[in-house]
């Protein structure tokens, strides 16, 4: 009886979690000109609408560019920091870690708003560069946290053994450390990419005719328009996230990555 109730609870829980997503996906295939559920018929017209409306396509390209660059920059900055801070014994290392992770505890809208004023003040202004810098600030903690978690689980003896056997620092990193922390990097990069790609509160403040990202254009679109193309875009975003997760699972195994996260 207990097992049955537990199964029932699990099914109900997943139904509750997945139902809104399923509704959005189904609405994206509606033949109607408005978003309503159940749908009167099936059609791909709203996916076609995405390609037909240039700001959606331009914003999607910008979003991918920003997400890729912010992820690369986050890895470049966070991986060395994680490697050092994991092994550091001094008291200030904790302080530095907390500082680097602090964007996670600050509302994104505050980061966006303050970055707008700061970057304008130092002359970078509303630009693609400003967007990438601010997204990197928001994405860096994800890479730092996952790489730190994995690296902490790696016994220092492995790296010490490599050093004793004559490997230099770079060789130790390349041959010993990097293969061991790779699931952490993959998990961090994945979270980083998805966080940047879906980000609205930061991108909102740096939107312009040249730098608008997809969430900003979607928000502006639904201010006055109600067609299901937003549901179609959401379905595509969901598909992208699923593809990323499946690829990461294939390469590294989702279990290793979730341990890292």
């Amino acid at each position: 009886m207990g097992g049955f109730l537990l199964s029932l609870f699990v099914v109900a829980f997943f139904a509750f979690m997945l139902a809104p997503i399923v509704v959005v996906v189904v609405i994206s295939f509606t033949s109607a000109g408005y978003a309503a559920f159940p749908i009167p018929g099936w059609s791909l017209r709203w996916f076609y609408r995405i390609w037909e409306y240039p700001p959606f396509v331009d914003a999607m390209i910008t979003s991918v560019q920003v997400a890729v660059l912010a992820t690369v920059l986050s890895c470049v900055l966070a991986i060395p920091a994680a490697l050092y801070l994991t092994r550091a014994r001094s008291g200030w290392a904790d302080g530095v870690t907390t500082f680097l992770l602090s964007p996670l505890s600050v509302p994104m809208i505050v980061i966006g708003f303050s970055s707008l004023f700061f970057l304008t003040w130092i002359g970078i202004g509303i630009s693609f560069t400003a967007l990438v810098i601010t997204h990197t600030v928001a994405c860096l903690p994800y890479v730092l946290r996952t790489v730190t978690a994995v690296h902490r689980a790696v016994p220092p003896a492995y790296e010490e053994a490599a050093a004793i056997l004559g490997a230099g620092r770079w060789a130790t990193f390349r041959e010993v450390t990097l293969p061991l922390i790779r699931p952490g990097i993959a998990a961090g990069a994945l979270f980083s990419f998805l966080t940047s790609f879906d980000n609205l509160p930061i991108s909102f403040f740096f939107g312009s005719a040249q730098t608008n990202t997809l969430p900003v254009v979607m928000l502006s679109y639904i201010e006055n328009q109600f067609d299901p193309s937003i549901a179609a875009l959401s379905t595509l975003q969901l598909l992208l996230a699923v593809i990323c997760l499946l690829a990461a699972d294939r390469i590294y195994g989702i279990e290793k990555m979730t341990v890292a996260a």
Binding site: Y34, A36, G125, G207, A209, N212, S220
Partner: protein, 347 residues
């Protein structure tokens, strides 16, 4: 041999002068790019075809259209007031007042914008003379004709019949930015209250609470009606007609007899913006351009010379039949209303 008469000399001279002036203006324009704003979707494409295209044709300048939201644009101007990244802002009426009070916007005069003479003075006064309205709708009662054959004609009747359980109503939640105006103030005013006294509104909400749903965005409202969860609600006329034209022919709208709240779109020019922005503004306020804009958007426009088509005319609620919100006064008490809503209604 051609005789060079005085008349011909004057004509030639004037022609050459005009060509030179035109060429010079074109050359000046070509070097300049104006940054204007729009909401996404049909709004943006209509702004491009109705206002940007004639502006570019007349001045030879270019205009880029930035998609986004008023709060975003105002923040961007605030961050760089000496060199604003945007030259023309689309604003909500309350933000337009905030920007005007902060002295971030330029004065609107007929000398700078000749078509301003055709805009009712009230719309420019509502922006403290530093902007004007160019488009508006009315928040009234939208209903499903299938389930509400005899809709309420007034806010008072709406409250009584929802409280009696005749209908389930969908009203905006406090998370929707315009709720304090389109619902709290409009209903309080209609039920005998005022900006200073919104008790009639909160009393009405108590009476109706068993038969109320709340929408946090326009799509929610439409879904409430389309799914049958609600029969009617407080919504905008233009949006109602957009749904109708998209195939939801069961939907209809009535402006309550007390007058639904006017929901306008303001337009402003930041200080230190490109002076060419006034030429763009003149196109935005032009009767012919506004007529084309209204026909696509299903919303009323503000130039008095605009003549609506036979299809659009019956859909338009003249602004004189709407309730004109005192935005400045509301801004002063708005936080108190939100706090009271959270305590008494909570959704």
């Amino acid at each position: 041999m051609t005789m060079l008469t005085r008349r011909r000399l004057l004509q030639t001279g004037a022609g050459a002068g005009l060509m030179l002036a035109g060429a010079s203006r074109m050359a000046m324009g070509q070097a300049r790019t104006l940054n204007v704003t729009a909401y996404g979707g049909v709004w943006e494409t209509t702004i491009r075809s109705c206002f940007v295209a004639p502006f570019e044709a007349k001045t030879g300048a270019k205009a880029t259209v930035s998609l986004g939201s008023p709060a975003q644009w105002l923040a961007q101007v605030e961050a760089s007031p000496a060199k604003p990244p945007l030259d023309v802002l689309i604003m909500t009426p309350d933000l337009a007042i905030t920007a005007a009070q902060a002295d971030r916007m330029q004065d609107f005069t007929v000398e700078k914008i000749p078509n301003l003479a055709k805009i009712p003075r009230q719309f420019t006064d509502a922006c403290l003379g530093k902007g004007t309205y160019f488009d508006y709708g009315v928040a009234g009662i939208t209903y499903n004709k299938k389930t509400v054959p005899n809709p309420p004609k007034s806010f008072a009747e709406f409250v009584d019949r929802v409280a009696a359980g005749d209908f389930v109503a969908s009203v905006p939640s406090i998370t929707y930015a315009v709720t304090p105006i389109m619902l709290i103030w409009a209903m309080a005013q209609a039920l005998g209250g005022s900006v200073e006294n919104v008790d009639p509104f909160f009393d009405a909400m108590k009476k109706m609470k068993k038969n109320l749903l709340f929408w946090s965005g326009p799509n929610d409202f439409f879904n409430h009606l389309a799914s049958g969860e609600a029969d009617l609600g407080i919504y905008f006329d233009g949006r109602t007609w957009n749904h109708y034209d998209e195939g939801a022919t069961w939907i209809d709208f009535v402006n309550p007899k007390e007058g639904g709240a006017l929901a306008a779109v303001a337009i402003q020019i930041p200080k230190n913006a490109d002076p060419l922005a006034f030429a763009y503004l003149n196109e935005v306020l032009d009767a012919q351009n506004q007529t084309r804009f209204a026909e696509v958007m299903n919303y009323a426009v503000t130039n008095e010379d605009v003549v609506y088509s036979a299809k659009l005319k019956p859909r338009i609620t003249p602004w004189q039949q709407a309730a004109f919100p005192p935005y400045e006064k509301i801004a002063a008490v708005r936080n108190g209303w939100v706090d009271r809503w959270n305590r008494e209604i909570g959704r």
